[in-house]
């Protein structure tokens, strides 16, 4: 009888130890002091519906159904100081998302930034992040997504789009065109114009020329 008693003791002990190993993979684990971990003030990307400390069940459900990342109130304009460039960048884009708006933008919408090396260099950094995966390193439409066959037929800046006016580019970045979606949520107006400054360089085959600078 005695050896079986030892066996039983070991079994009970190992059950308890193993039991502590069962964890919920969706729980980050133990916290020292939860009331110092959770913000009372509403923070972005915190699901308050998950937190039993501060809310009732009804408000938890309401919170869960609401997106924490919100848009600015419609019609508000960010105050950008007295600088005329900053002011014009803060103004809303006047052309509607229609074929007519696209044509009008091509004729009437011009960059408040100068076509110079600094803006083109700033645009190049943004271009490498935001555009290369489709439009390609040099704007030839041969990005990795195109190479992998997911989106094909992307026109080249230096060939098919060599004469595309800045306003149409801005319109396409703001609203999207064809398969390209709107990038307005990812790029503010200044960043859009900086990228256009760099695309103007690509349109000229990668050389900064006077001709590209004179187009507007």
């Amino acid at each position: 009888m005695r050896p079986s008693n030892i066996l039983l003791t070991i079994l009970v002990a190992s059950t308890l130890i193993l039991g502590s190993c069962v964890t919920n993979p969706d729980s980050p684990g133990l916290e020292y002091m939860p009331d110092m971990y959770r913000s009372h003030a509403v923070e972005a990307y915190v699901d308050y519906g998950m937190d039993p400390y501060y809310v009732t069940e009804e408000s938890a459900m309401a919170q869960r159904a609401t997106m924490s990342a919100r848009k600015p109130v419609e019609g508000t304009i960010a105050y950008m100081g007295e600088d005329s460039t900053a002011k014009s960048l803060a103004m809303p884009y006047p052309f509607p998302n229609t074929p007519e708006g696209y044509e009008k933008a091509g004729l009437n919408w011009h960059s408040p930034l100068e076509q110079n090396e600094a803006n083109a260099a700033a645009g190049e950094v943004l271009y490498q992040t935001m555009c290369t995966q489709c439009h390609g390193e040099k704007g030839d439409g041969d990005g990795k997504i195109s190479e992998n066959g997911h989106i094909v037929g992307i026109p080249s800046y230096s060939v098919k789009l060599a004469d595309l006016p800045d306003g149409k580019m801005y319109h396409s970045m703001t609203y999207g065109k064809g398969l390209m979606g709107s990038h307005a949520s990812q790029l503010n107006p200044r960043q859009r114009w900086e990228i256009i400054a760099y695309i103007n360089v690509l349109q000229g085959g990668g050389e900064e020329t006077d001709a590209t600078a004179d187009t507007h």
Binding site: M1, R2, S4, N5, L8, L11, V12, T15, I17, L18, G19, C21, V22, P25, D26, S27, P28, G29, L30, E31, Y32, M36, Y37, E43, A44, Y45, V46, D47, R64, A65, M67, A69, N97, P99, Y102, Q128, T129, M130, Q133, C134, G143, K144, I145, N148, H150, I151, V152, G153, P155, Y175, G176, G178, L179, M180, G181, S182, H183, S185, Q186, L187
Partner: protein, 476 residues
């Protein structure tokens, strides 16, 4: 299989249509553009189609950013000249007042916009039509990343591990209960038999009594064993306590089986394309569904899970994959861009990188001013599936790929890890105007105290030397 069969059927139909048209052209005897449907070169046509048409049109009846071209010869057969003009200069074609072109404009231009006029000759159009009517049965171009060194991630593996352990424990407990009850029944019966027979047999005691008896008989062994067990429990307890607040390897489940390696490694999408607020906000940002749609308007079928996972994006944003357009709040279809009024339920991702509320951390400061790579803290996410906290050893191993990556020893996302990096990280004064100003003050300001100047004696300044170890830098 289905797709293949449909393509075959489609081919047969177009062949029939072609011969019909040929017959019509021959019988009417006006072969001005007789070549458009029939004289083209398929190989040249494929190249021309991919260069000029493929960004909006598909050769099937699927709508991409414009209607699919399947059956085009049926629709345009009556006026080939018009079609060539429509391709070369849509506005000029519209001015002719052709009834079919007017119907096209009414139906499609409002939603998809004007087609861009293409610089193609009539011969080119003939080549393109040859390709459109005889598309290859297997569009092999569609994203196969074979031969790349990107990991293939399969979610189905290792998902039931924790459930298996649970069942094991339940069975073990049941077994123990049965074994113990059986043993005690046996003991009671034995004692009863012994008592009734009036034999001088030592009665079995309870479990506790018997364990005490046994332990006293083997006290040396029990003593040594308990020392070991005690030491073991101390070590386990210490490790358990040290594990509180350490979240290395934490990777909660997510509502969509998102695969970072497909996006980052196979398709080379920059981290900051989706997490685009990393350089201007405290948060790197979880991309909203409209950012997903920038690619997934075209990519409707995933390589791993087909349409099910991508359809979750469509449900959230109100996209109709068949017509390629968006819904509004009233259920009307036909918008070219996402509608705010749709109000779909947002995708509720589970947060992976949790910092306690008493720590302030800003991505902007580290990405924009500090100029850190994302990989410095997040590891090689291009090899991950969903978000995961990379263990520090994994990050250290990346030093060959990312020169200047700082190797650390404390677990990722702990305070020890933060201040270790603040102690080691050198500041590059050339990287931004912010530090240049700081540098000038250290070097030139005569009022600057000797302590500050002393930092510069070894020719470098660390984050710590500029206040990176001040409590109030992160805790306030």
């Amino acid at each position: 299989m289905f797709r293949l069969e449909r393509a075959r059927k489609f081919k047969a139909v177009t062949q029939a249509a072609k011969s019909l048209i040929l017959l019509a052209i021959l019988s009417t005897g006006t072969p001005a553009f007789a070549g458009v449907w029939d004289s083209g070169d398929l190989v040249k046509g494929q190249a021309l189609f991919n260069a000029n048409c493929a960004s909006c049109h598909k050769v099937t009846d699927e709508i991409l950013a414009a209607p699919g071209l399947a059956g085009i010869s049926d629709r345009w057969a009556s006026s080939e000249e018009m079609m060539v003009l429509w391709i070369q200069d849509p506005q000029a074609a519209a001015e002719t007042g052709d009834p079919y072109i007017s119907s096209l404009i009414d139906r499609y231009v409002g939603t998809y916009g004007w087609m861009t006029g293409q610089a193609v000759s009539t011969e080119d159009v003939a080549d393109i039509m040859a390709y459109v009517q005889n598309p290859p049965l297997d569009p092999s171009a569609a994203g196969s990343a074979s031969g790349s060194d990107c990991p293939t991630i399969d979610y189905s593996a290792g998902q039931n591990a924790s459930q298996g352990t649970l069942w094991f424990l339940i069975l073990l407990t049941l077994f123990l209960i049965v074994a113990l009850s059986a043993a005690s029944v046996k003991r009671v019966l034995k004692n009863a038999v012994a008592g009734s027979d009036d034999e001088t047999v030592e009665l079995d005691g309870t479990y506790v009594q018997r364990i005490q008896l046994w332990a006293w008989d083997n006290r040396v062994f029990v003593g040594i064993l308990s020392v070991f067990i005690g030491a073991y429990l101390v070590v386990i307890g210490y490790q358990g306590l040290m594990g509180i607040g350490v979240y290395e390897g934490y990777s909660p489940s997510q509502p969509i089986k998102f695969i970072h390696s497909v996006h980052v490694c196979e398709n080379e999408i920059d981290c900051q394309y989706c997490h685009h607020s990393a350089d201007e906000s405290k948060h790197a940002g979880i991309p909203s569904t409209n950012v997903c749609m920038n690619c997934h308007k075209a990519v409707k079928t995933g390589a791993r899970y087909g349409e099910t996972e991508i359809a979750k994006i469509y449900d959230a944003i109100g996209f109709d994959a068949i017509s390629g357009t968006y819904f509004d709040g009233e259920g009307n279809n036909g918008y070219a861009s996402p509608q705010d009024s749709f109000g779909g339920e947002p995708v509720a991702w589970n947060k992976v990188h949790n910092l306690p509320d008493h720590v302030f951390f800003s991505h902007q400061q580290h990405v924009e001013v500090g100029g850190l790579h994302c990989q410095n803290c997040h590891g090689d996410v291009g090899k991950f599936s969903v978000g995961r906290i990379a263990p520090v050893q994994e990050i250290n191993a990346l030093v060959d790929d990312f020169p200047g990556l700082i190797q650390l020893s404390k677990p990722t996302l702990t305070m020890g890890w933060c201040i270790e990096c603040h102690n080691k990280a050198e500041i590059s004064f050339a990287s931004s105007g912010y530090y240049e100003d700081m540098h000038d003050r250290l070097r030139d300001d005569l009022r600057g105290n000797e302590e500050l100047r002393a930092f510069m004696e070894d020719g470098k300044a660390t984050v710590k030397e500029l206040g990176g170890w001040e409590c109030a830098k992160c805790h306030y």
